[in-house]
């Protein structure tokens, strides 16, 4: 009797968790495909993934729940974010559809697909849930999994190594640059530098900037922009205007920044002098 009551209570608790997280995860998933900013998409995906981690835990899969948090959300998604950063953190996507009828067709296909599946599931008579008590009994969930991995699925497990090597090799092939000329020594570098026009280091970016973006050029003493302060890689990448520029050209924006800053600094100086006067 008590078992049934406990199961019922468990059921209720699970229902609550399910409905809360199901709504949250669907909303996050929808948001993920609808927001313009790539970073937001990635973060919303993280929300879905974390919700799923909770579901795993509820479904008697504690090990997977942790793996989901640590590996999937923690490592894989971070890799995504990393690439997003490289490609451009603020890159947004124009949501105007260019292929005629694509959205409508996608919606129709999606609705048809999900409707069919749910209709099918509705007609399916699923067996009663057995639960994993027995399976997890001998040594717990992790040991149960280990038993399967190292016996029944050992071949797939071993073959996965080929997958990982391929991934590493592929990343090397596409990202690693072979050195064609020998690496210049410290001495050669410093000689070259002395011989060049500029002996001093390049100006750092973002001087006097209101934010710490690496793509805001530094200002020279006369208030003009120093192109040298921004890495050519970043400068080249940015075809359009940076959204922090409020729609202005970099030069104009930099001038505005400079004016604002000067005003701020001057006021600060004023304040400081007043404070000093007071102290006196």
């Amino acid at each position: 009797m008590s078992g049934v009551v406990a199961a019922g209570a468990h059921q209720t608790g699970e229902s609550v968790i399910f409905w809360v997280l199901a709504v949250a995860s669907v909303a996050a998933a929808l948001g993920m495909i609808l927001v313009r900013k790539v970073v937001y998409s990635a973060l919303l995906l993280a929300v879905v993934m974390l919700s799923l981690a909770v579901f795993y835990a509820v479904n008697e899969a504690p090990f997977l729940a942790f793996v989901q948090v640590i590996v999937y959300t923690g490592a894989v998604l971070m890799l995504f974010l990393f690439v997003v950063m490289v490609v451009g953190v603020s890159s947004t996507e124009s949501m105007v559809e260019t292929i005629r009828g694509q959205r409508v067709a996608a919606a129709v296909a999606g609705i048809a697909f999900v409707a069919l599946l749910i209709l099918g599931f509705g007609h399916a008579t699923l067996p009663a849930t057995t639960g994993l008590k027995d399976a997890n009994a001998a040594g717990g969930n992790v040991l149960g999994l280990a038993r399967l991995i190292f016996t029944k699925y050992v071949f797939a497990f071993e073959v996965t190594s080929a997958l990982l090597i391929t991934a590493a090799l592929g990343a090397m092939v596409l990202a690693h640059r072979e050195r064609i000329t020998p690496k210049p020594t410290q001495r050669q570098l410093s000689e070259a530098r002395i011989r060049s026009d500029r002996v001093s280091p390049l100006p750092p970016p973002g001087t006097y900037a209101r934010h710490n973006a690496v793509d805001m050029p530094a200002l020279l003493p006369d208030g003009t922009v120093s192109e040298l302060s921004v890495s050519p890689v970043i400068a080249r990448r940015r075809g359009g205007t940076h959204e922090d520029l409020h729609g202005e050209l970099p030069e104009v924006a930099a001038k505005h920044e400079a004016t604002t800053l000067r005003a701020v600094v001057e006021r600060q100086v004023e304040v400081d002098s007043k404070v000093e006067e007071k102290e006196k």
């Binding site: 209709l119 599931f121 699923l126 080929a162 592929g170 596409l174």
Partner: protein, 520 residues
């Protein structure tokens, strides 16, 4: 006693039949050796070391496959039930290995240019860096281990006895191919585009495959094909799960073989990828994918055939017709062959639909026959070159028959084999699958098939007419002969003719392989 000790004693050491798995292990092992060479060998030795390792690996695996099929030991599942090594599988694996050897000849090509692959994949196309690396003459020798990994995956895929192993194998064969597609030496933007398209669509399709697997697991409580088959015959309830699972699994499988409407990647990827890799995909990947389909549908869903057959009928008919019809207006020779490969996928599906022994043996024979012909045809394409690399546009092929009668004649032979003219392997193969389909009660399908090959003959003949009956352009492409690609062409042509004139032994081989049926 801590729980850990109990558990360790509790898990029995898995039993792996290394003898049976050896072909797969040899290929994957050779790939790993290739990675080590890449890491430690000096640059100047790498190419030769890689070629030798790859050759040894493939030849060794092939020899072992032959030995396995000759040994006559009763076939059963291996590797704790994950892999089924049986007659059809050995036939498919042997075919893949030989075709991979031929493709390797094209991959290892050095006479046309330093390599068919880009000097440095990481350099931006058209940049100074790229130019420097081209001048320095370095080559991306990583392609050899990648190719071996892909071949390893292809060997596992049709042998996989459960859907999880199949999924892992699918990824093992796909990931290296995604990478290899993007490594062309010329027209790198196209090549990279092909890679990204193949990758995105491939990942998309494997998600469907996986969801199908999930539903089948939900239905049967296991992903082993024999368990699913047993569950089907028990009428366990929850059929919607089963049917939706079969449907979604088919999406993943049909995508890999390029059946309509999941063929969309094929023309773009075949055209953009380096031709050596296109040859590999058109032959080995197709063989592997169809092998996987055969196993899934013959072992797992055979008892369900009244449900999936109508769907397969529709797919096969569409595939045959769309492939043949769209090929007519193609102007790029690789793209045309891609559509032709789509159409051939449809012919192969008629053999799958037959679901009888003759269908199995016919499909096996067709796979081998088509694989050799297609590798040969792509090898010819690598040899017809002008200043910009391969001369892909059909107009450049005009009058080739007058300048290089032998090569153009061989290409014509391949085209006639694609068209299914008697005394070529294409005819025997088509006949084998069609007669099996007729015996399996799919006569209308065969009529569509014959109709489609009549349409297809049109564009094959168009190319022949172009090569032989029109005048060559003044600045037409030159034909560059090199030992390796010439060898690939010669083998392809020889097999095409032999399998057409004396197909007996090969048919017999396919038949005795099919007599085994798949182990469960």
């Amino acid at each position: 006693m801590t729980p850990g000790i109990i558990a360790a004693a509790d898990i029995p050491a898995p039993h792996l039949e290394y003898g049976r798995l050896a072909p797969i292990l040899i290929v994957l092992g050779a790939a790993s050796v290739g990675v080590l060479i890449e890491a430690f060998a000096p640059r100047e030795y790498r190419y030769w070391a890689q070629v030798q390792v790859a050759l040894l690996g493939l030849v060794g695996a092939f020899a072992w496959t032959i030995a396995l099929s000759m040994s006559g030991t009763p076939h059963h599942v291996a590797a704790m039930g994950a892999i089924g090594i049986d007659g059809p599988t050995l036939f498919i694996q042997g075919t893949i290995l030989v075709l991979a050897l031929l493709s390797l000849l094209l991959v290892a090509e050095r006479r046309h240019e330093a390599s068919p692959f880009t000097a440095q994949a990481s350099s931006v196309p058209g940049s100074a860096e790229e130019r420097e690396s081209l001048v320095a003459g370095i080559t991306q020798t990583e392609v050899f281990p990648l190719l071996l990994f892909a071949v390893g995956g292809m060997l596992i895929f049709p042998a996989a006895n459960d859907l999880l192993t199949m999924f892992v194998a699918l990824e093992v064969l796909s990931l290296p191919l995604y990478l290899l597609c993007g490594l062309a030496r010329r027209r790198r933007l196209l090549s990279q585009e092909a890679a990204v398209k193949y990758f995105l669509l491939g990942a998309f399709s494997s998600a469907f495959f996986l969801y199908g697997t999930a539903l089948l697991y939900g239905y049967a409580g296991s992903v082993r094909l024999s368990d699913i088959s047993a569950a089907i015959s028990k009428q366990a309830g929850g059929e919607p799960l089963l049917l939706a699972g079969v449907a979604l699994l088919s999406v993943g499988l049909l995508f890999k073989m390029g059946a309509v409407p999941f063929h969309v990647w094929k023309p773009d990827v075949y055209q953009g990828a380096p031709t050596a890799i296109t040859a590999l995909m058109a032959s080995c990947t197709l063989v592997s994918a169809v092998g996987g389909i055969l196993r899934v549908f013959y072992v797992g869903f055979e008892t369900l055939r009244w449900d999936w057959r109508p769907m397969m009928w529709a797919v096969a008919i569409l595939t045959m017709l769309v492939g043949a019809i769209v090929a007519i207006t193609q102007t790029d020779v690789k793209r045309m062959l891609a559509y032709s490969s789509v159409a051939h996928g449809g012919f192969l599906l008629t053999g799958v639909i037959a679901t009888n022994k003759a269908g199995l043996s016919g499909t096996l024979f067709y796979l081998a026959a088509y694989g050799f012909t297609t590798v040969g045809a792509f090898a010819v394409i690598t040899m017809v070159r002008d200043a910009g690399g391969e001369a892909g546009h059909l107009s450049r092929w005009a009058g080739l028959g007058k300048r290089e009668p032998l090569l153009a004649g061989t290409f014509a032979l391949f085209l006639l084999a694609f068209a299914g003219i008697p005394l070529t392997s294409g005819f025997t193969g088509k006949f084998a699958v069609f007669q099996a389909a007729v015996a399996g009660g799919a006569t209308p399908l065969v009529i569509v098939g014959v109709l489609s090959s009549a349409i297809a003959a049109f564009f094959y003949v168009r190319v022949i007419v172009l090569m032989f009956f029109s005048d060559p352009a003044a600045d037409g492409p030159a034909v560059v002969f090199s030992p390796t690609s010439t060898a690939a062409v010669a083998v392809g042509a020889l097999v095409t003719v032999v399998l057409g004139v004396i197909p007996g032994p090969a048919l017999h081989l396919a038949q005795s392989a099919a007599n085994q049926l798949f182990v469960r």
